[in-house]
Subunit: 155 residues, 2 copies
DNA sequence: GTCGTATAAATCGTACACGATAGGATCGCA
DNA sequence: TGCGATCCTATCGTGTACGATTTATACGAC
């Protein structure tokens, strides 16, 4: 009920949604150059991270972890396949599934990446405690938004 | 120097960059449906917000506020023009500039939007103090990232 | 006044995001 | 055993995002 509860906020930079949006873009900018040296985009890097943790995942399993669907992942995975970092094969047990596996080169990439993660970790400029707290708040914010979006929109 | 300082994090969901990224997507999902009723996408909505605050801005001024460049904004503004919400006219004083102005219909849209902002504000589930603190932390995070990206990347 | 430089917007190519839909495989159950 | 519902991936269309380049205008030093 305060003075700005309804009127348009004075600046987009005073909106939480815009701050989150632009901070995501800023992360992207920081990651772009070092990843480019490895031949990866940021979304491709996220897929590689996922496979370095658990290899041989289906498209859907990767999508669960990254919160995206096959319409985004299929072309992205084909590019990673074209780059020689993963293979895509139909599962014999369930022909509906496509299993994505790291190649030797894909596994090798993991070492080159350690420095990328490390250098970004420093630029965020937060100590362990603040980082953990910030992450927890953002996660809970995201969960609230997800829950709101999941409600069948009234009408 | 702790145990996870170098190895790949166990899950993308434990990375700050991914949390920010996916929270931005979650905001987008929440906004999508109500904005769709107005005929706007989320980035278009950000442009409208900017113009509701300051009308008659050049493409570059809009870009300063939204942190994007003409390569993204030009086609987006042409769509808003096609929808009848803005006009785009070359400035007489400086023929390089294109000035974007709200139409009557574009101004009218502002009222329909109040409820959108209000309903999203509730779903974030934070009180005034927490919201302000979270926003300040994210802003400072973004500034750190911007500063890092601005450094001419060594080698 | 002329020329080089800076600035503003537009254009181009590639990659993501995402709603909607299609097509094939699997499963459950009558 | 057959058949409808469900699941999984792929495809399509539209709308961003963004680096690199292009074109046109403005400005400053001379």
């Amino acid at each position: 009920m305060d003075s700005r509860s309804d009127a348009s906020p004075s600046r987009v930079d005073d909106l939480l949604c815009f701050l989150v949006h632009s901070t995501g873009a800023a992360f992207n900018r920081v990651y772009r150059k070092p990843l480019e040296r490895l031949g990866l985009t940021y979304p491709q890097y996220l897929v590689m991270l996922t496979l370095w943790t658990d290899d041989a995942l289906s498209v859907g399993q990767i999508g669960d972890r990254l919160r995206q669907d096959s319409n985004t992942l299929t072309p992205l995975l084909k590019r990673l396949e074209g780059l020689g970092f993963v293979t895509r094969t139909r599962s014999a047990a369930d022909e509906r599934r496509v299993v994505v596996r790291l190649t030797a080169e894909g596994r090798r990439l993991r070492e080159s990446v350690a420095e990328v993660v490390g250098c970004v970790r420093e630029t965020v400029g937060l100590d362990e405690g603040d980082l953990a707290q910030l992450m927890e708040r953002i996660r809970s914010l995201r969960d609230n938004l997800d829950a709101a979006a999941a409600m069948t929109p009234p009408r």
